[in-house]
C-alpha cells in the first residue's frame, strides 16, 4: 500500500494507519495505531494507540498511550509513553516518562527520565536525573548524576558513577547522587551512591558513598570519604 504523509499544522485529528511522514506542528490527536517511516512532533500531540516508526523526533510534547517501537527516538521536549519502548537508540534531552519497559541498544539520557519498568541496553549513559522502577541491565553503564538518580537494581559488566561539574555550593544545597538496592557488575566505580549491596569483581567505592555491604572477588578500594558497612572477599 502506498504511504502518504500526515501533516497537522493547526489543530486537528486523524486516524491511525500506514503513513510515510507524520508531522504534527500544532495540536494534533491521532486515534488508533500508527505505522510510519518518520514521525516529527513539534507541537502537542496525543496518540491513542501504538506507534511503530523508523525514526521519531519529539521536540514538543507528545503522549502515546500504547507502546513505541522504532529504530531511533530523540526526545527534546517531553514525551509520555503508556507502555513499553523498544528501539535501537534512545536519546532523551528533555523529559521522558515510560510506563513500561525500555529496551534499546543505546540509551542516552541528558535530561530526566522516569521508567516504571526495567531498562535493558548495551550502553546506558546518563547525565541528568532518572528513576527506574525495575532492573537497569546494560553492558556498560555510565552515570553522571545531575540530581537524584534511582534504580531498584543495577546489573552489568562495567558500571561507573561519577559526579562531575558540580560546584561546592550546589553540592551543599541539593542532593546529587544515585540510590539503588543492589549494584552488581564486574567492574564497579561508584561516587555519591547509596546502596544496600554492591557485588562485583573489582569494586572501587569513591567519595560520598553509603554502602551497607560490599562483596568482591578481585580487588576492593575504598575512599576515606565513603561509608561502607561491611566488606568481604568471596
Amino acid at each position: 500500500m502506498e504511504r502518504k504523509d500526515l501533516v497537522i499544522s493547526g489543530a486537528g485529528s486523524a486516524s491511525g494507519g500506514l503513513y510515510n511522514l507524520v508531522k504534527i506542528s500544532g495540536t494534533g490527536k491521532v486515534h488508533g495505531d500508527i505505522d510510519c517511516n518518520d514521525m516529527a512532533i513539534h507541537g502537542t500531540a496525543t496518540m491513542e494507540g501504538n506507534v511503530k516508526a523508523k525514526a521519531v523526533h519529539i521536540s514538543g510534547k507528545a503522549r502515546v498511550t500504547g507502546s513505541l517501537k522504532t529504530e531511533h527516538v530523540k526526545i527534546s521536549g517531553s514525551a509520555q509513553i503508556g507502555a513499553g519502548v523498544q528501539c535501537k537508540q534512545f536519546d532523551c534531552h528533555g523529559s521522558a516518562n515510560v510506563d513500561g519497559n525500555l529496551s534499546a541498544d543505546e540509551v542516552h539520557i541528558h535530561g530526566e527520565a522516569a521508567i516504571k519498568g526495567g531498562c535493558d541496553a548495551e550502553q546506558f549513559k546518563a547525565r541528568g536525573e532518572f528513576s527506574i522502577g525495575g532492573l537497569l541491565n546494560a553492558e556498560t553503564i555510565q552515570i553522571k548524576p545531575f540530581g537524584h538518580c534511582q534504580a531498584k537494581e543495577i546489573g552489568g559488566e562495567r558500571i561507573e558513577v561519577k559526579l562531575q561539574g558540580i560546584t561546592f555550593l550546589k553540592k551543599l544545597l541539593f542532593h546529587f547522587g544515585l540510590t539503588a538496592e543492589s549494584i552488581e557488575g564486574d567492574e564497579i566505580y561508584l561516587e555519591y551512591t547509596s546502596a544496600k549491596a554492591v557485588r562485583g569483581n573489582r569494586v572501587t567505592i569513591g567519595p560520598g558513598c553509603d554502602i551497607e555491604v560490599v562483596e568482591y572477588q578481585g580487588e576492593f578500594q575504598c575512599d576515606p570519604g565513603a561509608k561502607v558497612g561491611t566488606y568481604k572477599k568471596v
Partner: protein, 210 residues
C-alpha cells in the same frame, strides 16, 4: 508438588565460574528466562534465587555452545517461540526425532503429508515421548493433538505446561500457563505434567544438530 531446589545468585556464580556481566548479558538476551529469577527476602535484604537444576543445565549448555553460535542464535534456540523450520517426513525418521509409529499415527489422524512445521513436529515429539514412557495410550494421544492444535498458539511464546489427568479411566488433557499451582480432586490423578519449552528446546537442538 515438591518445591524446587533453589540456588542463590552468589552460589551460582561461584559454581559455574561466570561473572555478573555474563549473567546479566544472558538475561538481557533472554537466554535465561525472566521467570527463573526468583526474588526472596533474606536477612541481608532481597536476594535472587534460581531453580537449581534448570539454571545449572542451561548455563552448562550456553557455555558449550557459545563458541559456535552467536548470542542471538542461542537466544532463538532457548526462546519458547516455534522455529521457522519445516522438515520432511523422511528426514524426521532418518534423524530419529520421533518414532515411525507415532508418525504413522499422526498421519492417520490428520491425513497424509510430507512436510511438518515446527508446531506439528512439537506435538509429535511430545506425544512420542509420552508414548515411549508408556504413560498414555495411543487413543489418549489424540487429545494431545487436539488441544495443541487449537490452543498452543494462544500462548504466543509464553511458556506453558501440558497436563494430563485421569479419573476412573477417563483422560483429560490440558494446556496451562506455567508456574501455576494445580490441585486435583482425590480420585483424579495427574499422570503427566510436562514443561513445553523444555521440549521446544530439545527439539530445536535436535533439528540444528542434523
Amino acid at each position: 508438588m515438591v518445591e524446587e531446589e533453589l540456588i542463590s545468585k552468589k552460589e551460582l556464580l561461584e559454581r559455574t565460574g561466570i561473572s555478573y556481566g555474563q549473567l546479566y548479558r544472558w538475561k538481557r538476551k533472554k537466554l535465561i528466562p525472566e521467570e527463573w529469577f526468583i526474588r526472596k527476602s533474606t536477612f541481608t535484604g532481597q536476594e535472587t534465587f534460581f531453580p537449581k537444576e534448570k539454571i545449572l543445565a542451561r548455563i552448562e549448555k550456553i557455555k558449550q555452545m557459545k563458541d559456535d553460535l552467536s548470542l542471538d542464535e542461542l537466544a532463538n534456540m532457548f526462546s519458547p517461540n516455534p522455529a521457522a523450520i519445516t522438515l520432511h517426513k523422511d528426514e524426521i525418521i532418518k534423524r530419529n526425532i520421533v518414532s515411525e509409529m507415532s508418525l504413522q499415527f499422526y498421519m492417520e489422524q490428520k491425513g497424509e503429508r510430507h512436510t511438518f512445521s515446527f508446531t506439528e513436529l512439537l506435538q509429535l515429539y511430545i506425544l512420542d515421548q509420552l508414548l515411549q514412557t508408556g504413560e498414555i495410550s495411543l487413543e489418549e494421544g489424540k487429545s494431545v493433538f487436539d488441544v495443541f492444535e487449537k490452543y498452543y498458539a494462544a500462548f504466543q511464546g509464553r511458556s506453558c505446561e501440558l497436563l494430563f489427568l485421569r479419573k476412573m479411566g477417563v483422560a483429560i488433557c490440558l494446556l496451562v500457563a506455567s508456574g501455576n499451582d494445580v490441585y486435583v480432586e482425590e480420585k483424579a490423578k495427574i499422570i503427566v505434567r510436562l514443561h513445553v519449552p523444555t521440549y521446544v528446546e530439545q527439539l530445536k537442538l535436535m533439528m540444528s544438530e542434523g
